[in-house]
C-alpha cells in the first residue's frame, strides 16, 4: 500500500496541471483535435525523455558513487559477458524507444496532414509587417469579405487556413488549436484545424519578421454556429453612414486626412488596402494586432501616435485638433 501513492504522484501532477483552468494560449490545453494530437505527443516526449534522462543520470551517479574498483574484478570471461549484456541491453532499449518514437511521430504527422476536408470554411490569411489580413473565401464572391487581426470560426467545423505573406516570412500560430504554419513569400501554405470548444484563443506570429514581431498577435474566436452566422452576416455588410452630426464630422476627418490613403471602409470612398480594413473596426476586441484593447482611449492614442506604442510600424503619427479627434473616434466607434 505504501507504493501506491508514489506511483500515482506523476499522474496527480499531470492532472493538476491540466486542471489549472483553461488557458487562452497554451499548447498543452488543446481545444481541437490537431492541438490534442500535438499535446499528447508533447507529453509523451517529455515523459519518455525525462525517464531516459533520470535513468541515465541514475546510472552515472551510481557509477560515481561506487568508485573505482580493482582491474582484476573486471577481467575474465564472466565479467566480459556481464558487461556485454549490459551494453546490448542498453542499445536495444534505446533503439526500441527511438523506433517507437519515430513511428509515433510519423503517425501523428500523417493524422495532422489528413485533416483536410473539401467543405471546410476557408480563410486566407496574409501576413504583413506587423498585422494580419484575413479574407473569408466563399464559392459565391458576394459572400466574401475581409477583416484584420481577429478571425472567428464556428465550433465543430473544420477550417482551412491558406496562409500567404505580403513581405517577409511570418508564422501563424494558435497554440490551442494547431502548430505553427509558416507564411513564406511567394508560396501558399495550407493547414486545417477545428475548434471543439467555444472560446477566445490567442495567436501569435512565430517567425521573426522585423521590428515589431513581438507585437503581432491575433485572436481566433470560436463561436457557436448561430453566433458565427450572425457575425459573418454582419461582416458582409458595408459600413452604415453615420446618423449623427458628430459621426458625419468624423467621417469627414477620416476622408480629408491621411486615413483613406491606407485604410478601407466598405461603403465609403476609402478603398486602400495598404493597411487593415476598418469596415467593422468596432466589432473587434483588440487594436494594433492584439496590442491594445479596443476602447476609446487606446484608439485615440493609436490614431494620434502609433509610433509611441509600436515604434517602426508603417502607420505615421496623425496630429490633429482635439475636436477633430473626438469626432473621428466617435465615427470609428460606430463602425460595428
Amino acid at each position: 500500500m505504501r507504493r501506491a501513492p508514489a506511483r500515482l504522484l506523476p499522474l496527480a501532477v499531470l492532472a493538476g496541471l491540466a486542471a489549472c483552468g483553461h488557458s487562452d494560449m497554451s499548447a498543452v490545453d488543446p481545444a481541437g483535435p490537431q492541438a490534442a494530437r500535438i499535446a499528447t505527443m508533447t507529453w509523451y516526449l517529455t515523459i519518455v525523455g525525462s525517464a531516459v534522462f533520470l535513468v541515465t543520470t541514475g546510472f552515472l551517479l551510481y557509477a560515481l558513487w561506487r568508485g573505482r574498483r580493482r582491474v582484476e574484478s573486471y577481467s575474465g570471461e564472466a565479467a566480459e559477458r556481464h558487461i556485454h549484456r549490459w551494453i546490448y541491453g542498453a542499445v536495444a532499449v534505446t533503439t526500441l524507444i527511438l523506433v517507437v518514437t519515430l513511428l509515433y511521430d510519423f503517425t501523428t504527422g500523417r493524422a495532422l496532414a489528413r485533416f483536410a476536408e473539401p467543405d471546410a470554411l476557408t480563410i486566407r490569411v496574409t501576413g504583413h509587417q506587423w498585422w494580419w489580413q484575413a479574407q473569408y473565401i466563399d464559392p459565391v464572391p458576394g459572400n466574401r469579405f475581409e477583416t484584420a487581426n481577429e478571425i472567428h470560426v464556428p465550433v465543430g467545423r473544420r477550417v482551412r487556413v491558406e496562409v500567404q505573406s505580403g513581405d517577409v516570412i511570418h508564422s501563424f500560430w494558435v497554440p490551442n488549436l494547431h502548430g505553427k504554419v509558416d507564411l513564406i513569400p511567394g508560396y501558399t501554405n495550407t493547414t486545417y484545424f477545428r475548434a471543439d470548444r467555444a472560446g477566445v484563443y490567442h495567436g501569435r506570429c512565430a517567425e521573426f519578421c522585423g521590428y515589431q514581431h513581438a507585437k503581432m498577435d491575433f485572436l481566433v474566436i470560436a463561436d457557436p454556429p448561430g453566433e458565427f452566422d450572425a457575425w459573418y452576416r454582419n461582416q458582409l455588410r458595408a459600413a452604415a453612414a453615420p446618423a449623427d452630426s458628430v459621426g458625419q464630422a468624423g467621417e469627414q476627418v477620416f476622408m480629408s486626412n491621411r486615413c483613406a490613403m491606407c485604410h478601407a471602409i466598405r461603403g465609403t470612398e476609402a478603398g486602400s488596402r495598404v493597411g487593415p480594413d476598418l469596415t467593422h473596426l468596432a466589432s473587434r476586441r483588440t487594436l494594433a494586432s492584439g496590442v491594445l484593447p479596443n476602447t476609446r482611449g487606446p484608439l485615440g492614442g493609436w490614431v494620434l501616435d502609433p509610433q509611441s506604442i509600436k515604434p517602426g510600424v508603417y502607420m505615421p503619427p496623425n496630429p490633429m485638433k482635439s475636436d477633430e479627434l473626438h469626432a473621428l473616434l466617435s465615427y470609428l466607434e460606430s463602425l460595428k
Binding site: D167, I184, P185, G186, Y187, T188, T190, S256, N257, R258, M261, C262, S272, V274, P316, P317, N318, P319
Partner: protein, 176 residues
C-alpha cells in the same frame, strides 16, 4: 399748399439704413493661411531674403538604404506606379528614371512636386502622406535615376519571387 418734405431725422435714418446694408470686407488676421503646415516649409533654394537664419530642411534620407527601400514600397502602395510605371519607366506620367527633370531633381524640388502636384495630372499629396513617407518617396524617386549613392540602391526587387512558383504543392485548377 404745404410743402411735404422728409423731415431731417427721417432722412438721417434712411441714410443710416442704406449705409448699414453695405458691409465692410471681412478680414481675419489671426487665421492660419492654407499654405502653413506644422513641418517647416521646404525651400527649393538656399537663398533667403534678409539674414540667413535657417538651413533648408532636406530630410536625412537621401543616403539611407532603408528609406529608399521603404520609398519603393510607398511608390507601389500609393499607386505612383500607376502613372509612372514600376521602376519609373513612365506611361501616363513622365518617366522618373531619366535625366530630364521639368521641375528640378533636388530633394526639395521632388518634395515640392509631390506635395503640390503639377499641371497635367500630377496629384497633390499634401496632407495625405506623412512627411517621413514623403522624404522616403523622394529618396526612392531620385534613386531611380541614379541620383542617390549606389549603395542605397536595392540590388533586386523587394519581392522574393516575381510571380507564382512554377510548381506548387496544391495543384491549381485547370480552366477550360
Amino acid at each position: 399748399m404745404k410743402r411735404t418734405s422728409v423731415p431731417p431725422y427721417l432722412r438721417t435714418l434712411a441714410l443710416a439704413a442704406a449705409l448699414a446694408a453695405c458691409d465692410r470686407e471681412q478680414r481675419s488676421f489671426s487665421e492660419t493661411p492654407p499654405g502653413a503646415t506644422a513641418f517647416p516649409a521646404v525651400q527649393t533654394t538656399d537663398i533667403q531674403a534678409g539674414p540667413k537664419t535657417t538651413d533648408p530642411v532636406v530630410g536625412t534620407y537621401q543616403e539611407n538604404r532603408v528609406a529608399v527601400s521603404q520609398g519603393q514600397t510607398w511608390y507601389e502602395q500609393f499607386n505612383c506606379a500607376g502613372c509612372h510605371a514600376p521602376g519609373g519607366g513612365g506611361g501616363m506620367g513622365v518617366p522618373l528614371n531619366d535625366a530630364e527633370w521639368i521641375y528640378g531633381s533636388d530633394p526639395e524640388n521632388v518634395f515640392a512636386t509631390i506635395v503640390e502636384g503639377r499641371p497635367n495630372g500630377m496629384p497633390s499629396f499634401r496632407g495625405r502622406i506623412s512627411n517621413t513617407q514623403l522624404w522616403q518617396l523622394v529618396a526612392y524617386v531620385r534613386s531611380m535615376s541614379g541620383l542617390t549613392p549606389k549603395d542605397t540602391w536595392s540590388p533586386r526587387s523587394d519581392h522574393m519571387q516575381e510571380g507564382r512558383p512554377k510548381r506548387t504543392a496544391t495543384p491549381q485548377p485547370q480552366l477550360p
